[in-house]
Amino acid sequence: MPDEHSQTTMAVDELQAIIQRCQILEEADFKGEDFNLFLVAGQKCLEDGYAAQLLEVIQNEKNKVIIKNMGWNLISPLVRCIFTYKEEDDKREHCLRILDQLAQLCNPKELFLGLLEQIEQTSGDQVCQTVMLLLQPLQTVLLKLQNKKAYSVGLSLAMIMNQLTPLPVPYTKQQIQEDKLGLCQCCNAVVDFAKPFVNEVVKNMEKSSEYHDMELKEELLKFCMKSLKYPLLTAQLEQLEGIEEHPFRHFATEIINILWNIRELIPLVFLHHKGKSPPWENQEFADIERKNSADSVACLSYLMFVQHFGIECFPVVFSPSYLLLCNMTHIEVLLKRTEESMLSKGLDLFESSLLRMEDNSLLHDYLEFRDFINVPQDLVKIMTLCPMEHLRKKSLSILQLFIDKFDTEGKYTLFRCLLKTSNHAGVEGYIIKNIKDQIHLSLTKEYDNVWFTGHHLISLLDLVLSLPEGAETDLLQNSDRIMASLNLLRYLVIKDCESDNQTGVWTTLTKIEQNFLKPLRVGLNMSKAHYEAEIKNKKENRKEAHSSNTVCSVTVSGEKMPAMTTGMQLQVLHSALFTFDLIESVLARVEELIEVKIKAVMDENS
């Protein structure tokens, strides 16, 4: 039995043996079996900690041909080995030098595949580490490749990005600083990796405007589009205090620089919405492609218009309303998402596009663009359904901003549309309050009051001063809307005398009476009676059976709320009654006002 020492050196001996055998062979005479022996022996050396010796063998000029042909085999065990050593270990250093040597010496085609395979096989926590480790050799190899270089660069970038994509993107400041998986660092390393290829494209474009290396350019464009979608679309890109070089901001700048350098930036930003479709034969692919690029271009617009990356290259002659129009497509894409990172990007882009405009300057005709009708509806969805309060608040303030930018006809149309589509009493109440403000403006100012006075207003009032389901309308559910409507009506009858009738409210009073006031009064009486009876019931039940089981259960965002006690139920019922009282008091006031005014007129006439 060999002792321990000889067993460990055996690995090196074996390697020497196979090397010596191959040294005398011609390149063409290497057999499959030689490759195998070389791999086994090399792997053993690495596993047994003889990296230094292996390095020596590789560096030996005499072995050049062998390494050129067989070296790529060692990539896999080498990578495995490197991860087992600590940072400061000498052996790790040796391994890294081996990697470096292999990149220099090996046949580029095979080594390329070897490296790619390693990247493909890594997963989870090791992805970034592996990618960062192999980027340098991969770049060296790619620069040496003679054939299919563009394809190979594209393949490498696509493979790397695909491997990174499943990783969570650090979002909070702490997560970014910690960069647990190394994603921030890795992304920026990938950009550096791409730089020589970008330079190559730029050089080619400078050489002649006719001939471009289209293929390489296309691959780089794909990489940029992919990067915009991941990680940038998901990343937090606001400046963060205390982080001087925000990794994703840096990454974004680099990506935009690439796009600028390969002259794709400007076409991307504002030729896109014209529906320039990529030349796919298959409709399905074209759709996927369009959808993918929609996300990417939306992110790009956010970067340019909100974060001002690359804006120095952007033409400064476009009108603000045209920019809004172009961005609307992107805003819609972003607001359709549910992730905070994307929603907030969409809202920011919307806000910044609106802030470029002066109030009342947006022509109503823009509402003919589908996005201009869809996006406010998306806003409404966010403000009523989004679980994140700051986004709800922000979307409400943006809706107001959007309303403010339109001319009066635009505001009018928008109100109509939102009243019909929002399906939310709170939002409807908000719109009705806006209508009141507009009426006030047109009554107090001299200009352009066709839309919020006279017959246009009456048709809008028809929509406002009505109960969706007559007396049976759920008054509690609709209380916000009803209160706003009553307030509006009260404002109208106070502000607009019957003799003036500027708003036209007096002409349509009978209709309002029929469609709104009367059913409301009936509804109030029914609801009050119903709730009072319910309260009485509850109170009696409480006396009867103290152990009464809960009748219903309430779930809020998937969590079951604690069962309501009878006491709590009573409280709810009482608060409902309180709401009815409130509505009733305003209703009474309105009716009183109408009566007084009509009487005054009648007295005058008699």
């Binding site: 002259r263 400007i266 014209k274 529906g275 409709q283 001002h308 804006i311 120095e312 290259c313 033409p315 400064v316 002659v317 476009f318 009108s319 603000p320 309303s321 045209y322 910044s352 802030l355 470029r356 405009m357 002066e358 300057s361 022509l363 109503h364 005709d365 823009y366 003919e368 009708i373 109509r416 549309c417 019909k420 589509t421």
Partner: protein, 457 residues
């Protein structure tokens, strides 16, 4: 290039010159845009509204600081003139230029970025200075397919356009080969111009026109009277047409969200009728418009009562089936399949839906899928003779297809063999064979159209 210092002073001189001698080119004559011609144009022609214009420009702030230059980007700046795409000063200024002209423009904030400015480069209330060179311009390609080119002689009011279904009042003059064949004032519904011997291109173009607009439209045959020509006007097949159109007034059709369910259902019955009329006359493009309305109104309608829902589904089913038929006739098979899919989504055993999808797939050379569809037709209705014969067509075509493939490959292999024998296997040669094979495959056009007599609607 001069140094920054020099440019700055140069800029100042230009600004002063503009203020002193510049021509006020604003319609309001409020000195909001002042212009001096630096180099007169080479041709006398100016761009018209809506034209695609190509310019080079340089922009500076009042302090002489350059904020933008197309020359720095190394490519001309392109935009549509008079469409509000650019700041007002530009829409006004560039319209006054001649091809080849270079001019200076001094623009007051009201005609530029106003009090809002344009972050980050333009501060609030900034007066801007531009040097603009008009390189080229051309008529607007309305659908980016070269089918309708528009040149606007007089701009309309506002930005509002008639939509499909809008009622328009127009004056039109039609020319073919230099002679006028039509001249009339006419009122009709967009999408139904055919009723007045107006080609579909005019309907389509009207949707991009504004009230009061006067324009010239160059129609390719596809948007004109097509293969059929127009004997009434003595117009041959595939003739290029030129129309001069003035949109005098229009009333828009209601948008889907402006209509309630009842109205939509009532209208659906009307347009269905209309669509069927066009279909019978072979006016498939026009029929598509009518049936398309039903889809746009009802496809996404929610909250219908049971009765309404039933009515709506039956309209939708008819619309999808008829659309499928139209697309078959128009040879847009992918769309035909889509419509059938939607029809079958509403009624999975619909005989017509299955049959038409089979037809479309057959014409797309998807023989197996087509066969499946026809077989399903027979499951639903074993008496359907047309389906039976279609199945045998499918089988025949599959066989032909296979035979052809076999021939091609056989060919390829013989050639490979020959080449190997010659020991001159150059890669390009192999590729050529493969290419040829691909060509042969691609050349195979859908066979003679089987005009089946299956009842429509």
């Amino acid at each position: 290039m001069t140094t920054d210092e020099a440019t700055k002073t140069e800029g100042e001189v230009q600004a002063v010159a503009l203020t002193e001698r510049g021509e006020d080119i604003t319609p309001a004559q409020d000195r909001g845009v002042l212009k001096i011609i630096k180099r007169p144009g080479s041709e006398d022609e100016s761009p018209m509204i809506g034209d695609k214009v190509y310019v080079h420009y340089k922009g500076k702030l009042a302090n002489g600081k350059k904020f933008d230059s197309s020359r720095d980007r190394n490519e001309p700046f392109v935009f549509s003139l008079g469409k509000g795409q650019v700041i007002k000063a530009w829409d006004i200024g560039v319209a006054t230029m001649k091809k080849g002209e270079i001019c200076y423009l001094l623009c007051k904030p009201d005609y530029a970025y106003g009090s809002a400015g344009s972050a980050p480069k333009i501060p609030a209330n900034a007066t801007l200075f531009f040097e603009v060179e008009l390189l080229d311009f051309k008529g607007e390609d309305l659908f980016e397919d070269g089918g309708i080119i528009r040149r606007i002689k007089r701009k309309g009011e506002g930005y509002s356009n008639p939509n499909e279904g809008a009622t328009v009042e127009i004056h039109l003059e039609g020319f073919c080969g230099g002679s006028r064949f039509d001249c009339k004032d006419v009122k009709f519904i967009v999408g139904e111009g055919e009723d007045h011997d107006i080609p579909i291109g005019i309907d389509k173009a009207l949707e991009k026109m504004q009230r009061g607009e006067h324009c010239i439209l160059y129609l390719s045959p596809r948007y004109g009277f097509g293969e059929a020509g127009k004997p009434k006007y003595g117009i041959q097949a595939n003739a290029e047409l030129v129309y001069e159109v003035t949109l005098k007034s229009f009333e828009k059709a209601k948008e889907s969200w402006e209509m309630d369910t009842k109205e939509k259902l009532e209208q659906a019955a009307v347009v269905k009728e209309k669509g069927t009329m066009y279909f019978k006359e072979g006016k498939y493009l026009q029929a598509v418009i009518q049936y398309g309305k039903i889809v746009s109104w009802l496809e996404m309608e929610y909250g219908l009562s049971e009765k309404e829902s039933k009515a709506s589904d039956s309209f939708l089913l008819a619309a999808f089936l008829n659309l499928a038929m139209c697309y078959l006739k128009l040879r847009e098979y992918t769309k035909a399949v889509e419509c059938c899919d939607k029809a079958l989504g509403l009624d999975q055993d619909n005989e017509k839906g299955l049959y038409r999808r089979g037809e479309a797939r057959l014409l797309m050379n998807e023989f197996e899928l087509a066969k499946c569809d026809f077989q399903k037709v027979l499951e639903v209705n074993p008496q359907n003779k047309a389906a039976k014969s279609q199945i045998s067509v499918c089988q025949k075509k599959t066989k032909e297809h296979n035979d052809r493939d076999r021939r091609i490959y056989a060919n390829m292999f013989t050639k490979f063999a020959e080449r190997d024998a010659k020991e001159a296997a150059s890669k390009t040669g192999v590729e050529r064979v493969a290419e040829k094979a691909a060509c042969e495959k691609g050349l195979k056009t859908p066979g003679a159209e089987d005009e089946e007599a299956e009842g429509h609607v």
